[in-house]
Symmetry: D2
Subunit: 423 residues, 4 copies
């Protein structure tokens, strides 16, 4: 949870991560794995193929003698956005490809897994020095796609008025703790960025100092009940609460509540991977855009934290991974009762917390010169930073220096709100 | 082929038509059956469900006591365009529904088939007088969707650069006859419309008279070789050959050849359901829009026939079903050698022949008052009539009075060209 | 009004037509003449320039030695759609050109007028044989644009909530005659097309015969009051009254009444070139699309006439030009009382009458081989024929064989409805 | 140029600013003032009306007894984006309004000017305390629109292939100084924000501290010649130089050079308000987007400065207003020779300098509670900060704390590039 590196062997972690992907797709038939419900979301089948392509392209083809891809076109069909690798099948057309079939993708995964085992078994230290970091990126990359598999299939299945259920046990309500108050932080010249020696993404570095005024951070995430008050008070119809782009989006999209909230006889219910559920007032609100998070905060007379305030607070309290993670199987921010750490609860897990910070390079950041240089840096435009991981994030994937990012109008991720205030 | 009704019992025909649909989908896995490559085309899975919905909605629910649909939402999910039946799932979003699964759709088909057998076995004469015409429409409707299953999956599979093959035996080249000349027709006040007492669509009636000047009709369909000359001569870059809307489409879509033609090292090849094939110069050209057919005819100094000229000529020669039909399995207009009938060859089968006629009501036509009144009449705008059936049409489905219709820019159907001329 | 040619000298007619264009633009300031409110409509400034371009391009440049255009780019800037002449400034961007200014366009008009006088004064018979037909086309072309000047500036000015008034005397209400009944017509093999030896457009020929069953034609145009009953009865919310494309348009555009009707405290009023007016129940309804005309007719249990029925009826009664024309200055179909002719009233003038006929070539029609061959023929797709002229048509411009045409969803023209019925 | 307030009386400044707007529009006829060439740009006529609306709405109507607007609808027609004031005529449809005419807008301006004189003459101290800050905002607002008048009419006129010239003396080339080197700055905890007691926008406050590492700033702006090297080197076709959104824009828009550069026989020329000009290699490049500025910097192995670095450097050197400003009449960044200040030249004037900083609120910023609270704060999303003013900015309008902002793909402003580097 802090900056420490994981201890399991790389081969063991490889097996575990790859198996976890397959386990996530187990409830999904071939038809489900074909669904692409919008350009932002990809078919499950594609995620399984693309994560496999990653190891094949960056590890096996350059470093395992004799390795051959099942088909030369896979290089293009499953390339997401790496111009350095070559052409890319258009993102919004991923759903029209029925071949390779789900079974063929499964076979490809096994072929790559066998080759990876072979590579690791036969690699000398020199080769390990080269491939280990690539594999580490590949595993973290696959964990990111595990989260997208969950959010994308949620979006896909919930298009269907037949209300398909991914897992009837998902999103079951739990008991909540009583509300924590505000945590006061002195600010000053604080250090941000990944300071350990384990895996981290390039965008978490360089470590540098940022000046921050005194501030306060809410001990708890904003709940469904609290967000319901914003709706009741006319939040979605009051232009001055919104950024201009946000208000335009509210109008254009007809937003009246978070994504997946449905009005049912005058009260709000929520569609989840476990089916339709009564709204749990005490659970964290999720599937809100940055625009909604920002408007909510303004309505409360508060604001969103900067990503630096968030990281500084997190480092100060040394948070436990006390929130819901993918490993817990709820696949929903149920908000289970937990003690606070330094006054803060659920800083890790539950929902990605929108910050007010634009997603930009840290000072002196330079993207790596190789193809993986396209991983993070080129997206540093038009996005906001989210922190802390969600109920769809693997527990061992998150760090306090971890920077997630999405456009401010996106809300199909498990994104939520923690308020900050000036002091 | 003329206006005679089929002789097999309705129950036998029901079984045969329904089985034929399933046979057509046999080469397609669940993933293939999910593909929706454009709004005009529907997933195979949807076609199988919609044709089943047709019997359930129009025959079983009103007429088989105790029949119940597997799910009340199927009424909406598989309603194509019948406002009289209620709401409709949006056409362009058919591909995002993964449930009911392909297997569940298959089970639904069997459930409906069993119920239909039960209905027919138990129906008295009075009931048969009511349901027989509905069933007849349903079977013809299903045959139309069999053709769409072929054209839609062709479009879907051929999006994929992996070149999936539906049937390796499809589109195999055959021997051609030597070219026939022109057939002269005197015209005058000719009768058009369905004159028999068997099944026909409402748009084929009333029988009425049309005045036609003397004209000539080409004995053969335009071939790939002949169309290639148009391309060579710069047909696609010469604006005065085109209708204004056609020229705008050529520019917007970047058309340079018929759909599925691919330039391969300087010569044209063709993608088919049997894979990539060398162009067969002697086979009928297909996958051309009305705009291309019209421009080609203008370039040759000829024109397209009216639908009345076509029907008059067809009635004059009493054509054999000598063209390629779906029953033949080629699923491509291969243009097998055949003797002419009254100088005309392949009038039925091979390709739907574009006429210059707008798709409009025959004089005194009124759409039926019931829900099936939405079948044909409401589409009488902005479309052109095609005649004669294609290689994807069941042989026992076509008639000389049969009117097919598509917008003038569509070319994913097996549409082709037969020239006419003034005399 | 019938097929006779006008008798005034060509030079006199040239002066009169050109002057009429300028008179029409007199109430419009330079700002008004810049407005392009949609791609279908052009700025007044452009119409004045384009009609001038027509004479310059087709008459002066080829036939008046030494004539020079004010600027070589005018050839492109004011070319509407003649590919044979060269490139064209994009239609939807006509409103972004502020140069040549309105005054410069006026000066260009005078320069061309002077050159035309010079040409006509100096032309020998051989030259007159060549240029006279071109000038005749140019004058008829300019008269067509006079109508578009009116309909386009109406659309432009009425975008403005300030309600600019083109002419306060326009659209003043008048007395109506009592309603005429139906006129019965025997049909049979009737002749259509322009039979005289005066000016006519190529699309009015060749004269040919069409077979028509017995039918009846309404003596009067459909009135605002009658159309109001359709609205009252829920016509705009009843899908089965509409063609499928029409229903989609109603939904997409939110149509609830004809264009320019505004709901004012529960009743409908109408915006006109003379300002807001109470609806005149007895005046012809106008600014309806083909889709609305067709739905209205279906709701009444009637239908629209074919263009052949319309022309046959018109030839049978030898209609007077008894409707409102542009010359009358009302610029609105006020529907002044007039005796019927053979039972028909206002067959010419008031509103263009939608027919059910698609705009297609008459048998044996071939577009001229020169640049003017693009005038009519290339638009024979996707449009419906209208007949009879309107309150914005010059009285000496119309003929019973005259074929106007627009896409079925257009309603900014003065288009209206006359019902037909089977007999 | 620093944070000092202007000394002229408010009434004098009001007269001067208002007169300057009118002077700017003098070369433009009524037709020119109607042009809206894209949604981002507004007609001159609208700018003149909107700036008048500003004084009427925020000063006269609340504070001058008896003042009445010429028309109640002006409140809506000329409201840009103030939801607090009420409805707004759609931005992209500003060009379809021809009324009020240009002359009527001129008369409205005079009416408001007279009323403003009356108000200021009669106001007691209490009222002055209220209205003076509003008038100050109004004048600065009008100066901002003076810049937009220039950039918008440039975009509008240059749509026209006739190459209209706004002022033949504009953009005349000048002599340049020899290139300055890099200026080294130590960084540390630096103060940013407006520290004076004169006019400033709310977004320049609160003053706060930012930590900055040592850095260097280029003494000169990037020139056309230098940018030409980027083009020559294939900068526009090399994906890895670009942010992902930038590369997508390059592809979608077909960018190959800055806006208004035209390829003329193999070399680049430039369209200006003074007509087509040879490229001046030594003049600052302009009309580049943030994406292009960022890609150029990456290609040079440098980067763009943050807005804090820029402001810190500016405060360090106490820059002269040595660049081209609107007052100079060139209306183009001609880059006249000037001595450096602390090694920096043209920091103020010439071109707005893209920074890498997202346009976000300064810590503890709160938008004012009144309608003017919509002026700046609600746009803090998706934009990048530009600093320093341009050749279209009034010289007395700029400050070192001044924050301009545009979306990263915009390039119709006079935007340019100054490089920074790490130290």
């Amino acid at each position: 949870m802090t900056d420490a590196a994981p201890s399991a062997s790389l081969a063991d972690r490889y097996r575990a991560v790859r198996a976890r992907t397959e386990a996530l797709t187990a409830p999904l038939g071939p038809e489900d794995q074909m669904v692409q419900s919008m350009a932002d979301a990809s078919p499950t089948r594609w995620h399984r193929a693309h994560t496999t392509w990653f190891f094949e392209t960056f590890v096996l083809e350059p470093h395992l003698k004799g390795y051959e891809s099942p088909h030369p076109l896979y290089r293009e069909l499953f390339n997401s956005y790496y111009n350095g690798v070559g052409a890319q099948w258009p993102r919004h057309r991923r759903g029209v490809l029925s071949r390779p079939t789900v079974a063929e993708v499964g076979a490809w995964r096994q072929r790559v897994d066998r080759a990876m085992v072979e590579l690791l078994a036969g690699a000398d230290d020199a080769l390990r020095q080269i491939v280990d970091p690539l594999i580490e990126v590949g595993l973290n990359h696959e964990q990111q796609h595990q989260e997208l598999i969950v959010t994308d299939i949620k979006h896909g299945l919930l298009q269907n008025p037949l209300d398909p259920i991914y897992d009837p046990k998902a999103a079951a309500p739990v008991a909540h703790a009583s509300k924590a108050g505000w945590v006061e932080l002195a600010g000053g010249l604080v250090e941000v960025g990944y300071t350990g020696d384990g895996f981290h993404f390039d965008n978490e570095r360089p470590v540098h100092r940022v000046h921050t005024a005194p501030f306060a951070l809410a001990g708890d995430l904003v709940t469904c009940g609290e967000f319901g008050e914003f709706i009741e008070a006319g939040g979605y119809t009051t232009p001055h609460l919104w950024l201009s782009d946000g208000w335009a989006t509210v109008q254009a999209e007809g937003w009246r509540a978070p994504l997946y909230w449905v009005s049912d006889g005058g009260r709000w219910r929520q569609r989840t991977l476990g089916g339709r559920r009564d709204l749990d007032d005490g659970a964290p609100v999720t599937h809100v855009s940055f625009f909604e998070a920002d408007a909510y905060a303004r309505w409360r007379g508060k604001r969103l934290p900067t990503e630096f305030e968030w990281e500084h607070a997190a480092r100060s309290v040394k948070p436990a991974a006390d929130g819901t993670f993918a490993d817990d199987g709820a696949l929903h921010p149920v908000g289970r009762a937990a003690p606070t750490h330094g006054g803060l609860r659920h800083l890790l897990g539950e929902v990605w917390e929108w910050t007010q910070s634009a997603y930009l390079a840290y000072p002196r950041y330079r993207a790596p010169a190789d193809a993986l240089g396209e991983y993070n840096g080129k997206f540093m435009n038009g996005q906001r930073v989210l922190r802390g991981g969600s109920c769809a994030t693997p527990r061992d994937h998150i760090r306090v220096s971890y920077r997630n990012f999405f456009q401010p109008d996106k809300r199909w991720q498990f994104s939520g709100i923690r308020l900050a205030d000036d002091r």
